[in-house]
């Protein structure tokens, strides 16, 4: 008995439950499997089509991604002779791990933090900055002209969005007087998006850029550079690289919800009293809806050019991010929060 109850306690403890079950590994897989299907289905609906269907007719083909994932898993994994084997093989794994790690800093309730640090927001964003480096490693390792072009694009894009992403996030930190996600949520009597809409807008665009989704999927620009850094990847490694963007995006939508959409507030009190993590359901629903909105953009937009995206990053978003800092300071001084 003692063993079982301690096991249950271990599973339900924030240190385990957060990274492994929710919002971590298991949820990430579920999100990954569902969101790509949702993306294809929404696009199909807009485009007068049906989309994946026959694989599971009653649910509209909802397990399409399972088939694709399994196919990738079982398919031959080609390691071309010309590649640099170490970065080629290591980079996707490292990238996936660094896409997963930030979930350890996502709180689900005021006192349900998998990893308790007072700086969860910078830690979350900081871990995400490793991924562009791994993409560069993939590009380098692939030893392919298209890949290297893609890697260079990733490098350019990183400079364009990263500063913006951090500044807009820190402007919210200035507003809430804290660097911790949980305290930010508690500080939000009014959702942050209403307090500082500029910061929200900037963060939103920067996170789409960071995850490489339309209209900023420049790194994978298939019409010019086939699949960018991922051109040479086959089999399970490509499955990983394809997933990274979505995992990253899911993490960012959680962060966005926490910072701007008042996270798990309004608290579902009865649920919360049963088990703290259940309060996180609202957080998840908000984040998922945001995710659906972002993948819906695919049906509306094409792709911006690299220099246009850089211009948007530097000429539009960067000044706006600075303005959002001043706005936050002003709001802080007059004591809104």
């Amino acid at each position: 008995m003692g063993l079982v109850s301690s096991l249950v306690r271990l599973v339900l403890s924030p240190q385990f439950f957060g990274p492994i079950v929710f919002p971590g590994l298991v949820t990430v897989l579920a999100v990954l499997l569902s969101i790509i299907w949702v993306e294809r289905k929404i696009a199909a609906r807009v485009q007068m089509r049906v989309g994946p269907l026959y694989i599971l007719r009653p649910l509209g083909g909802a397990i399409q991604m399972l088939a694709d994932g399994l196919r990738f898993f079982f398919q031959e994994f080609i390691v071309p002779e010309t590649v640099d084997r170490v970065p080629f093989l290591l980079a996707p794994v490292v990238a996936m791990s660094f896409a997963m790690l930030p979930f350890a800093f996502v709180p689900l309730a005021p006192n349900f933090k998998p990893y308790t640090v007072p700086y969860s927001m910078p830690a979350f964003l900081g871990l995400n900055t490793v991924i562009p480096l791994t993409v560069l490693a993939m590009a380098w390792g692939s030893n392919n002209k298209f890949s290297i072009q893609g890697g260079i694009r990733e490098a350019y894009m990183t400079i364009a969005y990263e500063a913006v992403l951090f500044i807009s996030a820190y402007s919210m930190a200035l507003l809430y007087h804290t660097l911790d996600f949980a305290e930010m949520v508690e500080a939000q009597k009014v959702p942050g998006i209403l307090l500082n809409p500029i910061s929200a807008l900037v963060f939103f665009i920067a996170m789409i850029m960071s995850a490489g989704k339309l209209p900023f999927d420049i790194v994978e620009g298939e019409q010019e550079i086939v699949a960018g850094p991922f051109t040479e990847y086959s089999g399970i490694a490509f499955g990983l690289t394809m997933g990274i963007g979505y995992v990253q995006l899911y993490g960012f939508t959680l962060a966005f919800t926490l910072m701007y959409l008042s996270g798990w507030e309004p608290l579902v009190a009865p649920l919360y009293s049963i088990y703290p993590a259940l309060g996180g359901i609202l957080l998840f629903v908000k984040a998922y809806l945001l995710l659906v909105f972002i993948v819906f953009l695919r049906a509306v937009y094409g792709r911006y050019r690299l220099d246009q995206a850089l211009r948007i990053g530097w000429r539009t978003l960067f000044p706006l991010a600075i303005v959002s800092v001043f706005l936050s300071i002003a709001l802080g001084v007059i004591g809104v929060v």
């Binding site: 049906v50 026959y54 399409q64 088939a67 994932g69 196919r71 079982f74 398919q75 086939v226 051109t231």
Partner: protein
């Protein structure tokens, strides 16, 4: 390619034996049928237009015929696909490219030849610049027609889908 563990003598020929073990595992019935179910619903053709049947091939994935219902999704790089559709005539110049594309694709991979030209030259049977694809690839299905209607292409894909689902393809894998 050298095995990184070659120095550790007691491991033996790790790479080879692990590959054999994986092969054995994949060929067991439950694993194999799971794999074939996954592949059958995930036939991704490569973006490779060899000739004018490409117009009808585009129509196959476009709204009216929408083969994405079967998980059929034209994809970017040959490394990530598993279906090569020869869309019509294969000229000498193109045949070389087609061979390279086929070699770049990871197995298991399938080839479907579309159009009369891909069967025996069709209307160009006496041209000096065409190649018959069955001399180059193991072809699963031929689709007659010039050009074949999208329904015919869709039927070939569904046939291939069923064939893969029943695991009735290359145990004696025709490697290139």
């Amino acid at each position: 390619m050298t095995c990184p563990f070659m120095g550790l003598a007691f491991l033996g020929r790790l790479e080879e034996s692990s590959r054999k073990a994986a092969q054995w595992l994949v060929e067991r019935t439950p694993v194999r049928s799971l794999r074939d179910w996954a592949i059958s619903f995930s036939l991704w053709p490569v973006h490779f237009t060899t000739s004018c049947c490409g117009a009808e091939f585009a129509a196959v994935s476009a709204p009216r015929f929408d083969m994405e219902r079967y998980g059929f999704l034209p994809f970017n790089s040959p490394r990530q696909t598993n279906l090569l559709l020869i869309e019509g005539t294969l000229t000498r110049k193109m045949a070389r490219a087609a061979e390279i594309v086929y070699q770049q694709m990871p197995s298991p991979k399938f080839v479907v030849a579309m159009g009369a030209c891909a069967i025996d030259g069709g209307i160009f049977h006496n041209s000096y610049n065409i190649v018959r694809p069955h001399e180059l690839f193991p072809i699963e299905y031929f689709i007659p027609g010039c050009p074949p209607r999208p329904e015919a292409v869709a039927q070939a894909i569904v046939r291939l889908h069923e064939k893969v689902k029943r695991s009735e393809y290359g145990v004696k894998a025709r490697e290139t």
